[in-house]
């Protein structure tokens, strides 16, 4: 019923050739509905970042297809349908905060006044109004990541791809940014695909958690996280929250017993 924004079918990814062949992903099937918040979680090296980059057309699958917004992933990238946030903020030292947020808008050639207005609005969204003229090195790690998020949202992408964006931050900043991200998600209605190492973070943020196996990565199960929205500090005390965390953890441990192959996300 809800639109499927990302459709991954039968995707394999193999790195290298000949004797050095490394299969990273095997037979990935995944469907992500519009407006969902989907976390990819799995052991180190399971290919979750690779899957994210495949969706974003930063690398190509060895087999299978990826459809984004009804087009090929390649087309979607050229049409700028998605924004990316990495673990490192990757801000440019030589631009102010506002300049950094305007970067994607410059690439898509918006005029100067429109750019500035949009950048300021995005900075307001991440609650960094007043910092427009500062330089990245003057900001804390958490603030730099917020700038990166503002930048990723500046051209209103349909999808936000986030690769462990809060991994380098301390626990308290992380929890705060989790809440901020959820607020932004609700406000913009963007579909978010989120890679993380942290089981509690995955459960807290997501509508669905895709549990992956060790290399070669397969999707073991997509768990629908049925916790009430909006999520907040009370959610962290909820018994069902701990229940889901346990479920994800058990799934991760019992990965040999996991079902490979098709995993569909039920309309929630």
């Amino acid at each position: 019923m809800t639109d499927t924004v990302v459709r991954v079918r039968g995707v394999d990814k193999v790195f290298g050739a000949g004797a050095d062949k490394t299969p990273a992903l095997q037979q990935i099937d995944l469907e992500i509905p519009s407006g969902a918040f989907v976390s990819l979680i799995g052991p180190s090296g399971c290919g979750k970042s690779t899957l994210l980059r495949l969706i974003g057309d930063l690398t190509q699958p060895t087999a299978g297809t990826i459809e984004v917004n009804g087009k090929t992933a390649h087309r979607a990238r050229l049409d700028r349908d998605y924004g990316m946030v990495f673990q490192a903020p990757v801000l440019f030292d030589w631009r102010t905060v506002q300049g950094n947020v305007e970067l994607p808008l410059e690439v898509s050639a918006k005029d100067r006044a429109a750019r500035a207005e949009r950048a300021k609005a995005m900075l307001a969204l991440v609650e960094l109004t007043g910092f427009e003229r500062r330089y990245p090195w003057q900001l804390s790690g958490g603030m730099q990541q917020r700038v990166a998020i503002a930048r990723a949202l500046s051209f209103e992408p349909a999808i936000l791809l986030m690769d462990e964006p809060f991994g380098a931050l301390d626990e308290m900043t992380r929890e705060r940014l989790n809440l901020e991200l959820l607020r932004i998600w609700k406000q913009t209605g963007t579909t978010i695909v989120f890679v993380t190492h942290s089981i509690p973070e995955a459960v807290f943020l997501s509508t669905h958690v895709a549990v992956m196996s060790a290399r070669p990565g397969r999707i073991i199960e997509v768990i629908s996280v049925e916790l009430p929205q909006p999520r907040n500090d009370l959610t962290r005390e909820d018994e069902r929250y701990f229940g889901f965390i346990t479920r994800v953890r058990e799934r991760l441990r019992g990965r040999e017993v996991g079902r490979p192959g098709a995993a569909e996300v039920a309309a929630s």
Binding site: D79, R80, F86, D93, W94, L103, V107, S108
Partner: protein, 259 residues
């Protein structure tokens, strides 16, 4: 305020101390005045020949700046041109580094022959070759040694190669370019003076020093050396000032790091 004072004090103390000791040693110990004249006689020589020193200094500075401009512009153009082709830059870089090991100064006589011994251009060309390779190598490095994450970011925006070049590679290269120019500033002046040694117009610093030394007027020679050094330092500081204005984010970032 006191912190700045404490920071600069040792260097200043050394300067004053050495000058004082030098003066004392020459007078008291009667060290051969003609080889290493006391600071007082250098100072008076400086005042006495002020006009001539300024003239020769300016002429040499013109050679140095001219050479820096010619060599610098050529180096920037070549580096920008080569940076687009990754394979070419990787192949040419070691060659450029090897070419940098050639004693460029050996070309001074050739340049005199090509452009005319009295023509300042012959000295400028020596300087130009001298600074070409350091500037080209550093600019090329700045254009190619870009954080891969930044490149991926731009690819995620489907940015064209030209956009990536203008928005990422060039700003990234600016600190490298300024470093190269700071080094080249000093190099250019010394190169001009050494090139002058192989002959040319009389009214340049190099020839002035040689002439005065040949007539055993060492106080004059040392005064000229001081002028050469001062001009060199001033040239360097001018580029530092330009750097502060052109890339404030880099210079201040460095200050923030070191504090």
């Amino acid at each position: 305020m006191t912190k700045r004072f404490a920071y600069y004090f040792p260097a200043v103390a050394v300067f004053v101390g050495v000058l004082g000791l030098w003066e004392l040693a020459v007078r008291v110990l009667g060290i051969q005045q003609f080889l290493l004249p006391p600071p007082s006689s250098i100072a008076s020589a400086f005042v006495e020949h002020f006009d001539e020193l300024m003239t020769v200094g300016r002429n040499t500075l013109v050679e140095a700046v001219g050479g820096l401009v010619i060599g610098g512009v050529a180096a920037l153009v070549v580096a920008f041109a080569i940076a687009r082709w990754a394979t070419a830059s990787r192949a040419l870089l070691p060659f450029a580094i090897a070419a940098n090991s050639v004693p460029i100064i050996a070309f001074a006589p050739i340049m005199n022959n090509w452009f005319g011994i009295l023509n300042p251009l012959s000295k400028m060309m020596v300087v130009a070759i001298l600074v070409f390779f350091p500037i080209m190598i550093n600019t090329l490095r700045g254009l190619t040694l870009v954080d891969p994450a930044s490149l991926e970011l731009m690819r995620s925006y489907a940015a064209s190669e030209i956009a990536i070049f203008a928005k990422v590679r060039v700003p990234n290269a600016l600190p490298y370019i300024f470093t190269a120019f700071k080094v080249s500033a000093t190099l250019s002046l010394i190169g001009a003076i050494v090139a002058e040694y192989f002959g040319g117009s009389r009214s340049v610093l190099g020839q002035f020093i040689i002439t005065e030394a040949a007539f055993f007027r060492f106080a004059n020679a040392w005064a000229a050396i001081v002028v050469a050094s001062a001009v060199s330092i001033a040239f360097f500081l001018i580029i530092v000032a330009i750097e502060r204005v052109a890339i404030p984010w880099h210079a201040s970032a460095r200050i923030a790091d070191s504090s």
